[in-house]
Subunit: 337 residues, 2 copies
């Protein structure tokens, strides 16, 4: 039976496939300069690895987290199953502000509203520091990301075009489309409502969770999976999804997605950003995605000459979950010489 997760995306796993996450590791990056010019104090980046780094350090695959997600969840929901850990050294890395890596909720020097704004670029720069300074990895086999992880993938291939052989963005985007901007601005407005008065946090998070629930799948999917008598369950799932993350962390990641635009380092010309890509690129897009519109990724793919998997089903942003054959294709793309 299909199970709708409110916040994170259940992909192709069942309980039997889901892997227990390997141990959490933390790298201290010290004071990290941010794209805004501000400094993130005592920055820490957290990650979990599986597989073995080979002798020439050439088989690492970086897998950043989706919006609200953690590296632990990448394993729990078997997203990491896309990467064969018998061949690759998989590094599932927590994005900044996800509540595990340095975040408004866990920073002692810059807690909550004192936490500086971070960008998708800052997430990627911190990961680059982790790889080069801490893990001694100067080149990746691949970057793979889903949703906000896919946004980090777009950032990686344009900010560090020679750093990886391959890259896969799954329901990600080089910058958000108008509908997406409206959607995520709406969620941010709900959170800022509570941030500005330091009140009603639980209720604001419930609204944010409901908005996520609303955006994850299509109306057709919900009509099929949630008959009218289960509406309360649908609403409760949405609320619970909101309660799962700290409000300041959630707002920080939302702001990062809203500001995300890989063309900004290329004179605001997306064509130039796409032409800068050197990695073999695979774009997986869901045509009925109502959380992260597919058009910007597909347009980028065309200019970059990327391979494309277009998912056409009513599962919306979670389309890959409804298309297990696509997961096999992605795994194959990563293994292909």
């Amino acid at each position: 039976m299909r199970f709708v997760l409110p916040v994170v995306m259940l992909l192709f796993s069942s309980a039997t496939h889901a892997a227990e996450a390997p141990p959490l590791q933390r790298a201290e990056l010290g004071d990290l300069p941010l794209q805004s010019g501000e400094i993130l104090r005592d920055a820490g980046i957290t990650y979990r690895t599986i597989g073995t780094l080979n002798a020439d350090r050439s088989n690492a695959v970086l897998f950043p987290t989706w919006f609200t997600g953690t590296a632990e969840q990448l394993f729990a929901f078997d997203a990491t199953g896309l990467v064969d850990s018998s061949s690759f050294f998989l590094i599932a890395v927590d994005a900044l502000a996800n509540g595990v890596a340095s975040s408004p909720s866990n920073s002692s020097q810059q807690p909550e509203l004192d936490f500086p704004a971070v960008t998708i670029g800052d997430m990627v720069n911190a990961q680059h520091r982790l790889l080069t300074d801490i893990l001694g990895i100067a080149h990746l086999h691949a970057v793979v990301g889903i949703s906000m992880g896919g946004m980090q993938t777009f950032e990686w291939i344009t900010a560090y075009p020679d750093f990886m052989d391959k890259a896969v963005s799954i329901v990600g985007s080089p910058r958000l489309a108008p509908y997406d901007l409206l959607l995520w601005n709406t969620q941010l407005a709900a959170l800022e409502l509570a941030q500005s008065c330091d009140c009603q946090q639980e209720e604001a998070l419930a609204v944010a969770g409901l908005l996520n629930q609303l955006a994850m799948q299509t109306p057709e999917f919900l009509a099929r999976e949630f008959p009218r008598e289960r509406t309360d369950e649908l609403v409760q799932q949405g609320r619970a999804g909101g309660a799962a993350m700290n409000i300041h962390d959630r707002a920080a990641q939302l702001r990062a997605m809203l500001a995300h635009d890989v063309s900004s380092s290329y004179g605001d010309v997306m064509e130039r950003a796409a032409e800068a890509v050197n990695a073999d690129l695979l774009i997986v897009a869901s045509l009925q995605d109502r959380a992260v519109s597919s058009t910007p990724a597909l347009e980028f793919a065309e200019i970059a000459g990327a391979e494309v998997i277009e998912l056409q089903n009513d599962c919306g942003h979670t389309a890959l979950f409804c298309a297990p054959a696509a997961a096999t294709e992605i795994s194959g793309f990563l293994k292909r010489p």
Copy 2:
């Protein structure tokens, strides 16, 4: 040039077509019993008419308002242009809780949170009282409604099946689909957040307005009409739409839509409700509607043997605006003997 209205729906009008609304009239209904068993004290219903009631009082067309809308807006946006006022006596009626008819914002005896919950059925019962007790109209030529006005139309044809010759529901519904319930529950959660603390009303209304903006059209429409550099405008339009209505009125109408289900008087069997219809029924549905899903109306239409106009364009809930030929068909349906 197309203009996206955040809250109400601009249909086929331009500034040159839009009609100035005829004068507001108010009928006092006294203490009005509600479906809940509660009493609405000093109930007043407001309306605006155009055209002339004929001698045998057989040419009246009732046009109730959409969610957040007023009878004045039905004229301002030329929705009333669907009804030829040279043939018909058009009664544009304010739905309860719209801020003009009896509403939380204007009730002296039951203000704001003391206002009793009203249903779509209560709106229709108040309109029935207006027609029979005040205007002396025992039979309508037609009921025509858009969106929540279409919900009132469904309520009319099932609660008073012999009261009209014709009925037109445009992007209305006999009861909301799962996606719609999630959407409107999300908007209600944002408002209840502010209602429960009597704080942050402006911000909560902004969230509600943004949610409306999000639901009105499709992502494709927004991508076409709002290039990235106009995102701020899109967001500001949404916020402004929220600010246009009192929070308690808006919450009251949302609760009415969420509870709406014409099968509830027919043992919860929608087939029985549809079979009870005696009016010639025209259902206008937008297949890409993301505010009021078209499926419940289309299923109802099939059982009731209704005529159907399916709109297939990317304007979503405002599809009729993008399909002027459909407006002509609707006018024709109303005039046809």
